[in-house]
Symmetry: C2
């Protein structure tokens, strides 16, 4: 398959998932209309927070499913849509936890409700309350319905039940990771590199890589061995992805990631980079700048220079490559069908290709 | 059946539901242990927020189920436990929305996490963040798993699917009600009596009365006609319950309700009582006291006196009785089996018995 074919496959899959989500939101909005216009509005806000993403998790589901011979694309699209909605639920509630009113520079649910309340004369406190309330409720609806979408695949009982277990595993791990992340943000001590990897894996990688890949394989009726190996591949590549994400959060270009590259530094986000740096003598020169809310661009540049000179950047890059290579080694196992290898090799390449 | 037999039945049902919940929490805590002790702690906090309640919703499920001839008590206990967990999820997130750190005078999840963080030296802001984060995560786990418990009933596919629809209806309505309630708390205008009843029905009565009763009937294989009538009965008695709750929130004894009876007045809670009072000339004398955060006991007494003299109290009592009688009329319909009538008549009596 050449590049343009790959792209066409990917676009067709995305269209299938988008169609499922559109139908789901259309039904939900019709249903909400009976409860009044503000409920329809909340569903619209939830929809606009779900639509337009990269459909990353659905693509994992469908890649595994189709490469393993699955042909009921609509069922796979439902499972993909379920993971997309789970993702929405988790980020909407993550923003509540972090008291964030925007995501990637755009107002999120809390932000748009807060701004609307402020525009109609509410005080700042009341407007924030309105925003956070809407986000708590919208996240609950997304979470509950992620589960519902699995029910709507129309697959046989045994398969459905295993898919629900995988969704359950995804939420169970993500909640654990979120809790550890909150602890990190509260405690003064810098966590160790492996504690950060553990948290990032639980909070994001399990539900973004491991579980979607496994769900696709289960839906395709793959052997336990293949399902297990896909979980392993997903774990390794998911950790690699998170390390690369941390690197891009400091060294990436804003236009590419949609994040300002001083955000993580100002926030004092606990990353592999920063954790590594604390173990070096150079830490003394930047320790006070990490987490400085009004960090200037010049200060951010000097932090970047030190994170480079102390070896943190090359360590993180090396670690990402290490996990990426471990992921590739899983794909090389003999029970992995060539078509699956051909699907997932580019995924691993894309993750590692983000490292300069 | 005499009183002591009724009590014995009720206690046996509660024990069955408690056993399901204990097993669920025990499994979850074991599973959480692999993710570290703080995750086990979160599950313990969720458990202690679930255990010890009145098991009101499970009792509705089981009353309908057994009175309609159901004999698989364990399956009914799973469905009951699912509604109990949904209830926990909703109150935990409701407390997040209301920024409440206690419930019935006892620290809730937010409160216990906040207090623990404060005790180990966190600032007030950080401690509150810790508390709210834990509550968001715990509520998500409860919500997701309320659905899971329905899966674990082991009932046939068609029944399971209908039960899940009822759970879905419960959450869908409750989210709509919560949203309207947030709007009430933000807008200056006093909502009309029927808008308040509509909000209270959606936010609480649907998931507390209508859906549990319908779920019990569906599980027992009852006719559509019976399921529909139980929904109607649940709606009427649920609204009556909410009106009585509003009355007790102002006139009730603290020892009886566990709530301080000035709380609703200090908060300026939009209730049938207060909404009615705004339409009377006497409102001018108490308008400024409703929602006064530091309302004194003497001021509260004078508000109560005016809510009585202006007719709001007797109007609310009359309205509660009206809905209670409408509920009883449903039970009198010919297709309602006598055993079901015998089960639910005392429920309606108990609700109305709370009005002095």
């Amino acid at each position: 398959m050449d590049g343009s074919q790959l792209l066409a496959v990917s676009q067709e899959r995305q269209a299938q998932v988008d169609a499922v989500l559109e139908r789901f939101f259309s039904l939900s909005k019709n249903r909400a209309a009976a409860f009044g216009p503000q409920y329809v509005q909340l569903w619209e806000a939830l929809e606009s927070n779900t639509i337009g993403g990269k459909r990353f998790r659905p693509r994992m589901v469908m890649a595994a499913y189709q490469a393993l011979g699955g042909t009921d694309i609509e069922a796979a699209a439902y499972v993909g849509a379920a993971f997309e909605l789970l993702h929405t639920a988790l980020i909407v509630h993550d923003d509540v936890i972090d008291h964030d009113f925007s995501r990637r520079g755009v107002p999120n649910i809390s932000g748009s409700y807060r701004d609307a309340a402020a525009a109609s004369g509410s005080s700042e406190r009341v407007a924030e309350h309105s925003g956070i309330s809407a986000a708590v409720i919208a996240g609950d609806l997304a979470l509950f319905n992620s589960y519902r979408l699995i029910d709507r695949t129309g697959v046989a009982d045994v398969t459905r039940s295993r898919l629900l277990e995988v969704m359950d595993d995804a939420l169970f791990a993500s909640a654990a990771g979120e809790l550890i992340d909150v602890d990190f943000s509260i405690n003064f001590d810098m966590p160790r590199v492996d504690d950060i990897l553990h948290m990032e894996r639980l909070k994001t990688a399990v539900y973004s890589f491991e579980c979607p890949l496994q769900a696709g394989a289960i839906l395709a009726g793959a052997s336990e061995e293949v399902v297990a190996t896909l979980g392993d591949f997903g774990r390794e590549i998911g950790i690699a992805y998170q390390i690369v994400d941390d690197l891009l959060g400091v060294f990436g270009l804003e236009a590419e990631t949609g994040k300002t590259t001083v955000g993580d530094l100002r926030e004092g986000k606990r990353t592999v980079l920063v954790s590594y740096a604390t173990s070096t003598p150079e830490w003394a020169t930047i320790g006070e700048l990490i987490g400085k809310a009004d960090l200037s661009d010049a200060e951010a540049d000097s932090v970047r220079a030190v994170l480079t000179s102390c070896g943190a950047k090359s360590f993180a890059e090396g670690l990402a490559r290490y996990y990426g290579n471990r992921a590739l080694a899983r794909l090389a196992e003999p029970h992995i069908p060539p078509a699956l290898r051909a699907e997932l090799h580019p995924v691993a390449d894309a993750v590692l290709g983000r490292v300069k």
